[in-house]
Symmetry: C2
Subunit: 676 residues, 2 copies
Amino acid sequence: IVCRSKFDLATVYVSDAQYNRNIFFDTSPQAVRLYLLYNHWFMQMLVYVFIIINLALALFEDPAVVPLPIWATSTIEIICLSAFTVRMVHYAKVIPRDKFWKDPKNICIIVIVTLSFIDLTIYGALKATGYFAIRWSRVLRPLLLVNVTEGRQLRRAFRSIRNALPQISYVFFLFMFSVLVFSLMALKLFGKRGLLTIDGSPYFTNYLDIVFDLYVLVTTANSPDVMMPAYNYSVFFTVFFILYIVINTYTFMSFFLAVVYNNYKKYLKEEVRQLVKARRFKMCRAFSLLQETRGEGGEPVVTQAKWNHLVKLVKPNISIAHRELLWSVLDDQNKGHIGKIAFVQLADLLSIQVITVKSQPHPIQICFPSVYNSSVSRFIRYMVRTRVFVYVYDLIILVNAVFIGLDEENPVVSNAEWGFLALYMLEIILKLYATEPRAFFARHHFWNWFDTIIIVSALFGTIINSALKHCYTSRQILDIVFILRVVRLIRLVDSIKRFRAIINTLIKIGPTILTFGQLIVVVYYIFAMVGMELFKGKVQFFEPNSTSPDQEYCGNPLLKGTTFAKLNYCKNNFNNVVSSFIVLLELTVVNQCGFTAVTHVSARIFFVLFHIVVVIIIINIFVAFILEAFLVEYTFDKSDLQTSLEKKIEELELNVQQYVPFGPPIKLFSIASFCC
Amino acid sequence: IVCRSKFDLATVYVSDAQYNRNIFFDTSPQAVRLYLLYNHWFMQMLVYVFIIINLALALFEDPAVVPLPIWATSTIEIICLSAFTVRMVHYAKVIPRDKFWKDPKNICIIVIVTLSFIDLTIYGALKATGYFAIRWSRVLRPLLLVNVTEGRQLRRAFRSIRNALPQISYVFFLFMFSVLVFSLMALKLFGKRGLLTIDGSPYFTNYLDIVFDLYVLVTTANSPDVMMPAYNYSVFFTVFFILYIVINTYTFMSFFLAVVYNNYKKYLKEEVRQLVKARRFKMCRAFSLLQETRGEGGEPVVTQAKWNHLVKLVKPNISIAHRELLWSVLDDQNKGHIGKIAFVQLADLLSIQVITVKSQPHPIQICFPSVYNSSVSRFIRYMVRTRVFVYVYDLIILVNAVFIGLDEENPVVSNAEWGFLALYMLEIILKLYATEPRAFFARHHFWNWFDTIIIVSALFGTIINSALKHCYTSRQILDIVFILRVVRLIRLVDSIKRFRAIINTLIKIGPTILTFGQLIVVVYYIFAMVGMELFKGKVQFFEPNSTSPDQEYCGNPLLKGTTFAKLNYCKNNFNNVVSSFIVLLELTVVNQCGFTAVTHVSARIFFVLFHIVVVIIIINIFVAFILEAFLVEYTFDKSDLQTSLEKKIEELELNVQQYVPFGPPIKLFSIASFCC
C-alpha cells in the first residue's frame, strides 16, 4: 500500500510537471487521491459547464433575449454558486489550510460567491416588494473564469497585462497630455471663428467636447468629419490636424504597441524560466520517491520496471512501442536504469507528440488480394498519389468556385452541383482506396477530416434540400448548403506550400487565440453588464416593416436628426446581452458612440474607458502575441531533446512518424506561453 | 604635392567611412579634388533645392493652386533638369566610367531627365496646337529624390520594402483568397434575400461590389454600415461579420505587421554588417596611405603628427582638447604612434559626439565681482538651481494653462498674460544669471533654446498685437500668439523624468521619421499626380457663403444624395496638389472613397492600390521601425569604444561633458539605420 501511494504521488508530480500545474497539495495518500479526483477531466469540464451556464444567465435575465421569471434564473444561479462552493471545499481538502488562505484566487472566488448570494437576496427581496433593483453582482461573474484553478492561462494573460500597466500608463499620460495641449490649441484657434459643424452646432467651442472629439480622432472614427469645418475655412488649418494625426494617431499608438510588446517579451522570458524551474522541481520530487541506490555509494537511480509502471499511470493509453522509444532515449547506454538527469526529462518527452502509425494492410487487400494487387488497381493507387491528381482537383475546385458564384436557380448550375459532389466523393473514395482507412483518418490528418465532413454534410444537405424543394424551400437548409459549398474552396489553400506554412502558424497559435477569446469575453461581459444598466431601452429597434412613427429616431426623440438614426443604427443598442456584445465589437473596430446623445455627456467616459482597455491594451497584446509567435516560427530551432528523440527513431528504424504541434519543447513555451 | 594628395585621399576615406558613403571614386589627385567638391555641403544642398523646386512645380501647373503660364513652369523645369544633368556629369567625372554605367541609380536619373525633356517637348507642342495633353512625366519627379547620391537612407528604405515584398505577397494572396471566399459566401447568403442598404440600393448582390465592400471593411472605414442590413434582418448573420473581422481585420493585419517587422529586422542586421565592413575597408585604405614602418620588420604605424594633420583635415573645427582626448584613447600606452587596429577606430570615435564645455567665469563676475559674489547673489544662484524653483515654475505653467483656457476677451485674463510673460522672462534672466550664458545656450541644451525662442517670440507677438489692437485685430498675429502660448506648456514634459525618457526616444528617432517623411512624399506625390489626372474637376468646392445650387452635391449631379455630399466632403478633391495630399492623408487614416461615385467603378483600383502600398506596407514599416527603436532603447548597452572614451575622460580629469545623441556607435546603426 505504501508503494501504491508512492506511485500515486509520483504520477501526480509528473503530470503536474507535464501540464505545468503549480498546486502545493497535501502529500498524504488520502489528499493525493482527492487531488487526482480534483484534476479529473470530468470535474474540470463540469466546472466550465457551470461557469458557462452562470454566464449564459444574462440571456434570460432582465433585459433578456428570452425572458425567464426571476425564480427560474435565481434557482439556476443558486445551483451554479453551490457548485462553485463544493469545488472550493474540495480544493480546501486537497491543499494545506495555510496555503489555501494565502492564495488570492481562492479569496476572490469566496468573495464573488458571497457577494452574488447577497446580491441575489437583496434583489429578490426588493423585487418582491416592488422596488427598483440592480443585479450589480453580475459584473463579477466573468471573474470566476479567471479565478478557477483551470484558468491558469487566462491568469497569466492578466498578469502580463498588469505587469505592462506601469509602463503603459507613462506613455498614456504623455499621450493624454498631448491630446490636452492640442485641444487647448484647437480651442484658441477655432473657438472664436464661429465655425459650424455639419449638424449646425458650434465647432470646437467647449474644451471638454474638443478633448473628446480629438480623442475619437485617434481611433480614426470621426476622420475626416472633425477636420472638415476647419479645412473648409482655410487650408492652413489642416496642418494642425496633420500634426495631430502623425503624433497621436500614428506615433503614440505605435509606442503603445512597442511598450506592450516589450513587456510581453520580458515577462514571457521570466515566465518560461519559472515554468522550467517548477517542472524540474516536481520531477525531482517524483524521482526521490522512486529512486533506489545501486551498489555501495552509487548514484540513486530509477529502474526500468518502476519507470514503466509510472509512465503507464501517467499516460494510461500510451503504446508499448512509444514507451520503449522514450525509454531508449533516456537510457542511452542500455543500463536498465536511469539517473536523475535523465528522469527529469520525462515531462518534456511526454510533451513531444509522437504518433505511432501501424503499417497495416488495406482491408481490401486482405479480402480481395488479387483485385487489390492487379495492375489496374496499382495504377489507380499510383495516380492518386501523384501531384497531377492534386492539380486536377485544384482545377475542379476553381471551376466549382465559378459555378457557386453563378445563379443557383439556373437548372444547369444546380445540376452541376450534383456533378461536383460526385467528383468530390470520388476523390475521397479513391484516397481511401489508396491509403489504409485508419491511417487516412489518423488524428493529425486535419485536411482529410475536413474534406470528408464537409463533403458528406454537403451531400446530405443537398439531398434534404432537393427532397424538400417540392414542398417548400427552407432558407436555413439552403444557407447551410451554401456555406458548406463555399467552405469547400478553402481546401485550395492546402495545395500551395507557402500558404500551408502560414496556415500552420495560424493553427499553432489557435489555442492561444482561444485564451484571448476568454480574455475578450471577460472584458466584454463586464462592459456589457455595465452598459446594459446604463443604456438599456434608450435606443429601440423597430422591425423594417413596422409603421411606427418612432422608427425614424430609434424610439428616442433625442436622436431625431442625428447621424445615428439616419444611418439606421437603431439595432446597435444595449437592450440585451447579445446586442451589447455586438455593439462592443463595433466599438472595438471603430469607436462610434451615438449613445452619448441619449444620456448624459459623462457616458462618454464609458466609451473612452472601453477604448483604452480593449484597443490600447488587449488588441495590442494580441498583436504582440502574433508578432512573437511569427518571429519564433521563423527562427525555428529544434531542442536537444527533440533531436535525440529523432535520432533514436532513425536508429531504431521504427515506423514512427513524428508530429510536433507546437515546435520544440522549449520553443513550445515561447510560442504558446498562454496555452500550456 | 604627393604628400598633400595622399592626405586628401586619406581624408576622403575617413569622412566616407564616418558618413557611410559608398562611392568607388577615382583615386587620381584631380578626381579626389572633384570628389571633395561633389561632397561639399553647398553642392548637396543645391541639389535638394532644385529637387524641391522641381516637385513644387505641381503647385503652379494645371490643375494649379496658383496658376502660372506654361512657359514659366517649363522654363523652371528646364533649369532644374539642367542642374541635375550638370550634377550627373560631375559625378561621371568623379568615378570610373565602368562603375558609372553599372550603377542603376545613374541610369534611373538619366532616364528620368530624358523622359521629362521628351514629355515637356510633346506637351508644349500639343498645347501650342491646342490639343489635349497630359504631363505624364510628373509621376517620375519624386523618384529623383530616391536616386540622387545623397538619398542613401531613402534608397535603403526602398530596398527594405523590396526585400519584404515576396513574403508580404504570400500573406497578401492568402488574405485576398480569404476575402474572395468570404465574399462568395456573402453573395450566397445575402444576395437572394432582397435586403436594401441605407441608400436603398440592393445589398450584396454583385460579387465585385461585395469584394470591394469587404476589403474596405478591413480598413474599418465602413464599419458598421456594411453589416447593418444583415444585422437588422437577423442577429445570426453577425457571426459572418465577426468571423470576417477577427480573421481579416485583426489576424491578417497583425500578420502583415509581423512579416514586415521580421524582414525589417533581418535586413537591418545584414545592412549593419555591411556598413561596418565597408567602414573598416575604407579606414584600412586610409591607414595604408599614411603608414610607415618603425624599425626592422616592425608593424606599420601612423605617427601622431600625421594623425593630427588628418583629423584637422577631416574635422576642421575640432578643438585641440577634443583631438588630444581622441588620440589618448587610441594611443593608450603613449607610444606616439598607433597601429592599424587603433587607427580603424577613428571613424567610430568621430561619430561619438563629445562636447567641450569651457568653464569660463560669468561675465557679471568679471565686471562686478563684488556684486556677483555677495551673499544675496549667491543665494539667488543657489535657489535657481534647486528643485523648488522647477516646481514653482511647473505650477505657474499649470495656472497659465487654465488662464489660456479661459476667454481671452475678459480683461482680467488678457492682463494676466502680461504677468505670465513677465514671470517667464524672469525665469530666463535668473537662469542666465546663475549659468554662464555660453553654457546656457550650448547646442545640446534643447529646452533652453526652446524656452527662450518661445518666450521672446510670444513677448514680441503680444506687444505687436496689443499695439495693433486699437486700429484693428489681426487674426493671423493672434493665432501665432495663441499657438506660442500653448506650445509653452510642452515644457512641463521636461520636468517629469519618465516623460523625458519617452521624449528623448522620440527625438532620437526624429531623423529616421524624416526619412519616412520623404518616403511618404514620394508615394503621395506619385498617387497625387495620377489622382489629379483621373479625378480633377470631378468634385467642386463652393465657398460656404456661395449661393450656387450646385453646392449641395459638390457641383456634380452624380453625387446628389450621397453621404459624400451630405457630409460636406466637397473640399476632399483632387483639384490641386495640396488638396490631393490632404485627401491621400485622409485615405491613409480611413479609406473613404466617394470618388468612385463620380467616375468609373474601376477607379476603386486606385484606392485599393493606395491602401495596399501605404497602409499595409509603409505604415507597417513605420510601426516596425518604432518597435525596433523602442526595443533597442530598452536593451541599451554601451559599446567598448564609448566605455574606453569615458574612462579616458575620467582618467585625464578633463572638464569634458559627454553627450551621445544616438546611443553608442554600434547601437547607433541599429536605432538609426536609416538615418546615418
